[in-house]
Amino acid sequence: MSPIRMQVKVGRGLVLRNPVLTASGTFGYGLEFEPFCDLAALGGIVVKGISPRPRAGNPPPRLVETPCGMLNAIGLQNVGVERFRTEKLPLLREHGATVVVNVYGHEVADYVAVVRALEEETGIAAFELNLSCPNVKEGGLEIGRSPRAIREVTAAVREVTSRPLWVKLTPAVTDIVETAEAAVSGGADALSLINTFPGMVVDVETRRPVLHRGTGGLSGPAIRPLAVALVHRVARAVDVPVIGIGGITSVRDVVEFLLVGATAVQVGTANFHDPALAARLVRELDAWCEARGVADVRELVGALEENR
């Protein structure tokens, strides 16, 4: 890595070694990627959403490709907080990864329970509250679409952790600035946006939805222009750092999110295609800056020039 400074700060004094993280649910518990990717080289790893108890997830099919995107309805299959704490976290610590724990629950008490169970552990850089999963019946979008509920959950978790608290928002709202402000007023140190959009694909021969659950969440390059516009709006409206997510596949895309105001980014679906991608983007971002005389990656954050 060149002398270019790649470090970024994402709230409550948390310094990441670079702005390229991996998005929750798209990087497993990190360990699946270990053969392909140096976990310690990443800005951070946001692990698959953790709930108080293990969850089996939705029946298959859970996935379908769409034009330049993918629908998923995994249904938050996860090992639960206890097995995460005892089986996954120690290994992640060993690999020197910067770990962000994505937290999921049906109600306020669930979010609090997960965070409380992990608060004493070392090797967790931040918590990210998933208030935006379109693939489960309860919680998720119901909370994520209501500014009042967002503030309530955030404030409740704020009380039980001194760690940086990120809130992940859904794009499927009328005014994302409203939900963003609700999270900030509840005590969020940073905002992660966006989660997936609700979508559906039908098998026209069988006349059934391809996904067993009917609808799923749309991710991938298809949604990138929407994510960029939302990050642009929110970054100008709130005072906390914004983490840009949605359709990143190349260093150009990383820079695009930084320019519209993201302090860091998360790479999602593209990790499945190319398990070495996130680590490569770290190096490519460095080279991109080098080639253009950008001495500190933070110079790029919000450096968009508006037309006119």
Binding site: E32, P35, P60, V64, F272, P275, A276
Partner: protein, 271 residues
Amino acid sequence: MPQDLRARVLEQEELGGGCFRMRLDAAPIAREARAGQFVMIGLPDPAETLVRRPFSVARLVPDTGEPEALEIVYKVYGRRTRQMTRFRPGTEVALLGPLGRGFWIPGEAEGTEVLLVAGGIGAAPFPLFLQRAGKDLAGRTTLFLGGGTRDDLLLVDWFRERCGEVVLVTEDGSAGERGLVTGPLAARLDAPPRGERVVLACGPRPMLRAVAELCLARDVPCQLSLEERMACGFGACLGCVVERRHPEGEFDRYVRVCTEGPVFDAREVLP
């Protein structure tokens, strides 16, 4: 240990019945691959093929000795497989493999009789099985090769040269017996066994269900190669699950095809 490579297409051949054979310059994967394992194929830029597709490693090249290349055999279903037919020799693909758990021979002991059951493109993993098996085991192997019509029966001549016995079955009777592949399989299973037996099956879901029933009812060990939509192929997306027959607990209802499979003991999963 799976390798993530850039591999060049070496040749493509249309086999008939909407199927193609593609040869890939991927020696490191070929050397490691066991029958039933698979590779994920896409173009190098994730923006062009966001979700890679899984294909069984079908055959190694050359036929014996150190492998220099591998082949897949694929059937055109939708956008990606159609796109693959356009890859000319020289096209660079992003190839990850070998992945998953392949077939295994429970008693490699002398005399175990192997019954391969393939429906249509489900024949894909079996050339590699025979290549890896060695002469003796191959000689004790019978392949039941079924399809709708004669064009659906893949690599018949190749199989005939290497396999103890090849039984052809077509629904329209245009080649071999008329009917479903489970017909002659049931007959064989009901005949007095020569020794240990094991059934390895790959094909459409209804065929796998029927094969599993036949075997479970007769207590014959049976392995099924399953398919499910995959995004990663290495256990990370949790997209490719199938239901367990006997979940250990409420939260262990599913197993991943890409990692715990694609080959399962018929007693483990609900195909």
